[in-house]
């Protein structure tokens, strides 16, 4: 087992290096840079700016150096935890990251839990009571959730939340709890706001997760050992949990790794619509303004999280299923 872990962890490194290079290239692709954005803002305030000012500002921000040097500076800093400086927000990137990372993770993880909490029972029920009316009903609801674009869902949920429950629009807290110390009431307020992004994001993944589970389970349930056990009189529920479910869960675990990028992308859109203080909206602003350090660091962070997620799921899978370790 240990050999496998070491192999996988070391395997991650070249991947991450390639990713960082890719990120850097992609950020630099569009024409213009942070300097032009900054100067635009200054000009719109009536200040006049000349081409020389542009050149000097660029030098100040180290943008006149060859791309390779810029890349090395950036990735070097990232590795020691210095994520650089955001010219868009005029603050160090690490400050911005820490502020937002917590909320991003909370939303992403809670969506993941929501997905499982719904998908697993639904999948089991569907497998066991195939083609029943409830099966069709569940499938339909899941499908609608999957099919509706997330921003539309978010918008409608926000509207419904306000009209039906009086939940204040935008953000994760009502005004009165915003900077109050944590208390039970604040927690309740937070949850009442959290459910919208959680449901909107989670619903997308629920349908596919449910179907995967159902398919796996059906697979297992038709196998001879199950039939034998039933014939010998083992109770159905006990039987279900003792063997088939655990085996059916296996490929399921690998979906953690696959869900992460989708969740993080989805979170960006939903957060924009709902006005949440997470990484997504800041990242998109950074991409538009071509704030290299901010956008690049965010993206790198997200990629690292994703790779870690995939690693985790692979390791879990290997631990659960010995066959894989010896591939």
């Amino acid at each position: 087992m240990r050999a496998y872990v070491i192999k996988r962890v070391f395997g991650m490194i070249p991947t991450l290096i390639l990713i960082s290079g890719l990120i850097f290239i992609v950020i630099q692709l569009p024409p213009g840079d942070i300097v032009t954005s900054t100067l635009d803002r200054m000009q719109s305030q009536g200040l006049e700016v000349s081409a020389e000012a542009v050149a000097n500002l660029r030098a100040q921000y180290n943008l006149d150096q060859p791309l390779l040097i810029q890349y090395v500076r950036w990735i070097g800093g990232f590795l020691v935890g210095d994520m650089g400086y955001s010219y868009l927000f005029t603050r160090p990137v690490s400050e911005l990251v820490w502020e937002r990372l917590g909320y991003t993770l909370m939303i992403t993880v809670s969506s993941l839990i929501f997905t499982w909490a719904i998908a697993i029972p639904a999948g089991i029920y569907s497998a066991v009571r195939q083609y029943s009316f409830v099966d069709y009903l569940i499938t339909t609801i899941m499908l609608v959730g999957l099919a509706t674009p997330s921003f539309l869902l978010a918008l409608m949920a926000m509207y419904a939340g306000y009209e039906l429950f009086g939940i204040s629009i935008g953000g994760l807290f009502s005004p009165e709890y915003r900077d109050a110390p944590w208390s039970f009431a604040k927690l309740m307020d937070f949850l009442s706001h959290l459910w919208i992004p959680m449901v909107v994001l989670g619903l997308g993944g629920t349908a596919s997760t449910m179907r995967i589970l159902r398919a796996n389970l059906l697979d297992e349930l038709s196998k001879p050992y199950v039939v034998t056990a039933r014939a010998k009189g083992v109770k159905p529920l006990k039987l279900l949990f003792k063997y088939p479910l655990r085996i059916a869960i296996n490929p399921f675990i690998s979906t953690i790794g696959l869900l992460m990028p989708a969740l993080i992308s989805g979170e960006a859109i939903v957060s924009i619509v709902l006005g949440l203080p997470t990484i997504g909206p800041a990242l998109i602003q950074a991409l538009i303004a071509q704030d290299m350090y901010l956008a690049g660091s965010f993206l790198m962070l997200l990629a690292v999280l994703t790779v870690l997620g995939m690693l985790l799921s692979d390791l879990l899978l290997a631990w659960a299923d010995p066959r894989i370790r010896y591939e």
Partner: protein, 648 residues
């Protein structure tokens, strides 16, 4: 401007309100005008002139361990008259960060009169411009203090001018606005700006932009290498994580980092806390204004400004559901129905101001475009006239502006002393037949029968207009314009671009056509920066003639030498800038504006558009009908420090 001020003030005192109330559609009862106090147009009286003997402060400050209010105010504070009632202290306002420059303003030596033409003393007690226009002298009020109690003196203005504006590390290229100038100290309260060439309109700059001309020297000397220990500064830079000490200063001045929370300010509120989602302001205990009963302004105790990243929809939703006490900057004309629907819940009141923009969309043909054939076509004034005549402005007004905008060209604002009505109405009639006739006259014919005209030599004619859809309803306006032009046979393609592309391509002169909205149209800024009417400076929001502007800016080193008529216009802008006689200046300015009316360098659509200003039903003294724009800093002349929350 100074001698005739009283006379002009009288004229504009009723002219301005009339303009605000008038619309092409019949004036409904709700359009009735709220009269502004006379004092908003005159030099503010001081407490001793009004006869105030004692001052009072907000109860919030009673136990804060501060010196008595009389000592915190200047020796003879200016008295600001509220619009309607004397207010009561208390309350915290909920707004978004986007409105934090509008809900309360920046303080400068001078301020702007409500007639948008004249200037009034603010931090200054008086000021003087020398007859040759080279020297602007400012005498500060005695006893002004920063928000930490430290006195405001000439040194603070001198520091900013010499060590920020003229510092070659911070500003490698000195701004055109202060080039050739220096600052001299007369005494602790008096200083003057001295220029080599006449600069009689420097006072315009001080009034409109002057908040950026003063900084708390006692705070910044700790961080500026010219005063502080270089090692200390470098250590601070490394500690905070900014790249250079210039960036550190910038971050401090914008109070974006925690260090900047301590930075003293002159504004009515100071920052006390900054979180990822929220900026909290508390009242500035050393604010220098009082109301007619001696109560120290502002009335409202604090502001909670929420930071909503890049989503105007959330702000609109919050505003219409009564979750904000004040909202205006990010709101748009098309939001008005939703906001007014929200009014029915009784939580909010929706005021309709008018945007300052002369035209929400100023279409800019690029006279410096590379292709000679296209350039020749654009240079033909008949072509431009045809483009303007083909636009059905009344219909556009109905569709986009609920018939409450004003069809007009790009010219000065009606409040301006340079304004003549025919500048605005030139070629704004809807006459597609005439447009087609002009096309034919130029030689544009539809040869292949597809309904679209070609160049006289038969080659296909397609114009691509690239633009950034931001702030005013540009996208929907252009979709209408494209269909109107198609009706008369012109093939217009629209391309949306983002900020970076707009900036790069417009300045490089690579766009065939672009657009932006036209502000800087009042007496405050027009004579100083008449950029819509002559190529004086390059800009990403002006794509007409950047090569000619570069030529002017660099004295012929870069860019292209403009034709005679353009050079004449550039000369006029110089003449205006150096002219000390106001009447002569107006004459020159009008020549410039007439040239535009005749030539249509840019094509306007609809201007003076309705702009929603949403206020909580408890918020009082907000002007119901004002002029909303950058020139007059949105609310500056309307005294937001006198806004207060009603107790019930």
């Amino acid at each position: 401007m100074f001698t005739d001020r009283k006379h002009r003030r009288g004229l504009t005192a009723w002219l301005v309100p009339m303009l605000l109330g008038v619309s092409p559609v019949s004036v409904a009862a709700e359009d009735a005008v709220s009269p502004m106090p006379d004092s908003w147009f005159e030099i503010p009286k001081t407490a001793s002139e009004v006869g105030i003997t004692s001052f009072s402060q907000s109860p919030m400050l009673d136990d804060a361990g501060l010196p008595p209010v009389k000592d915190r105010l200047p020796d003879d504070p200016p008295v600001i008259e509220p619009l309607n009632n004397i207010g009561v202290f208390g309350g915290r306002a909920q707004i978004t960060l986007g409105d934090s420059w509008q809900f309360f303003n920046w303080e400068s030596a001078l301020t702007i009169s409500a007639d948008l033409r004249n200037f009034l003393p603010n931090l200054a007690e008086s000021w003087e411009v020398s007859p040759d226009g080279r020297i602007t002298t400012i005498k500060l009020r005695s006893g002004l203090k920063w928000s930490d109690g430290h006195p405001l003196t000439s040194d603070d203005f001198i520091f900013t001018f010499n060590h920020i504006w003229l510092d070659t590390d911070i500003n490698p290229v000195t701004s055109m606005l202060v080039i050739g100038g220096r600052i001299e100290k007369v005494d602790n309260l008096t200083f003057r700006y001295v220029f080599e060439d006449p600069n009689p309109m420097f006072e315009n700059l001080i009034a409109q932009y002057g908040s950026f001309m003063v900084d708390p020297k006692h705070f910044f000397v700790k961080y500026h290498p010219s005063f502080a220990d270089r090692e200390f500064v470098d250590a601070k830079v490394a500690e905070i994580g900014v790249p250079t000490w210039m960036a550190l200063l910038d971050a401090l001045r914008s109070a974006i980092i925690d260090e900047g929370l301590d930075m003293p300010t002159l504004r009515s509120y100071k920052i006390v806390q900054r979180t990822p989602t929220m900026v909290r302001f508390d009242r500035n205990p050393f604010y220098h204004k009082v109301d007619p009963q001696g109560q120290q302004l502002p009335y409202i105790d604090g502001i909670d400004a929420e930071d909503i990243l890049d989503n105007a929809e959330v702000v609109t939703a919050k505003a219409s559901t009564g979750q904000l006490d004040f909202a205006a900057f990010t709101l748009r004309t098309q939001d008005i129905p939703l906001l007014k629907l929200g009014e029915r819940n009784g939580e909010i009141k929706v005021h309709i101001w008018r945007r300052l923009h002369s035209s929400d969309v100023a279409i800019q043909p690029n006279y410096n475009y590379a292709d000679a054939k296209y350039r020749a076509l654009l240079w033909d004034v008949r072509f431009r006239k045809a483009l303007s005549l083909a636009i059905n402005r009344p219909e556009m007004n109905e569709i986009i502006y609920f018939s409450r905008g004003v069809p007009r060209q790009v010219t000065v604002h009606p409040t301006s002393s340079y304004f003549e009505p025919h500048y605005a109405t030139a070629h704004t009639e809807f006459d597609p037949d005439q447009a087609r006739a002009l096309f034919a006259e130029i030689g544009l014919k539809d040869i292949d029968g597809d309904g679209l005209v070609e160049y006289p030599d038969g080659s296909p004619l397609t114009i691509t207009l690239e633009f950034l859809d931001f702030e005013t309803p540009k996208g929907i306006t252009m979709e209408l314009v494209a269909s109107y032009w198609r009706e008369v046979g012109l093939d217009l393609r629209l391309k949306l671009v983002d900020r970076a592309l707009q900036s790069a391509r417009a300045q490089a002169g690579e766009m065939q056509m672009t657009l932006w909205h036209a502000d800087r149209v009042t007496d405050i800024l027009f004579p100083l920066v008449p950029d819509w009417w002559a190529p004086r400076s390059t800009g990403w929001d002006r794509g007409m003639w950047n090569d000619w502007a570069r030529y002017y800016q660099t004295d012929g080193e870069l860019g292209e030498n403009p034709p005679e008529i353009i050079r004449q216009m550039q000369q006029w802008t110089d003449d205006m800038r150096y002219e000390t006689d106001i009447n002569k200046r107006i004459t020159i300015g009008k020549q410039l504006l007439q040239a535009n009316a005749d030539n249509l360098w840019t094509i306007g659509t609809i201007g003076l558009a309705p702009h929603p200003v949403v206020v909580s039903k408890r918020l009082r003294n907000v002007l119901p009908k004002g002029i909303w724009g950058w020139d007059n800093r949105w609310t500056l002349a309307y005294h937001p420090s006198t806004w207060y929350f009603d107790e019930d």
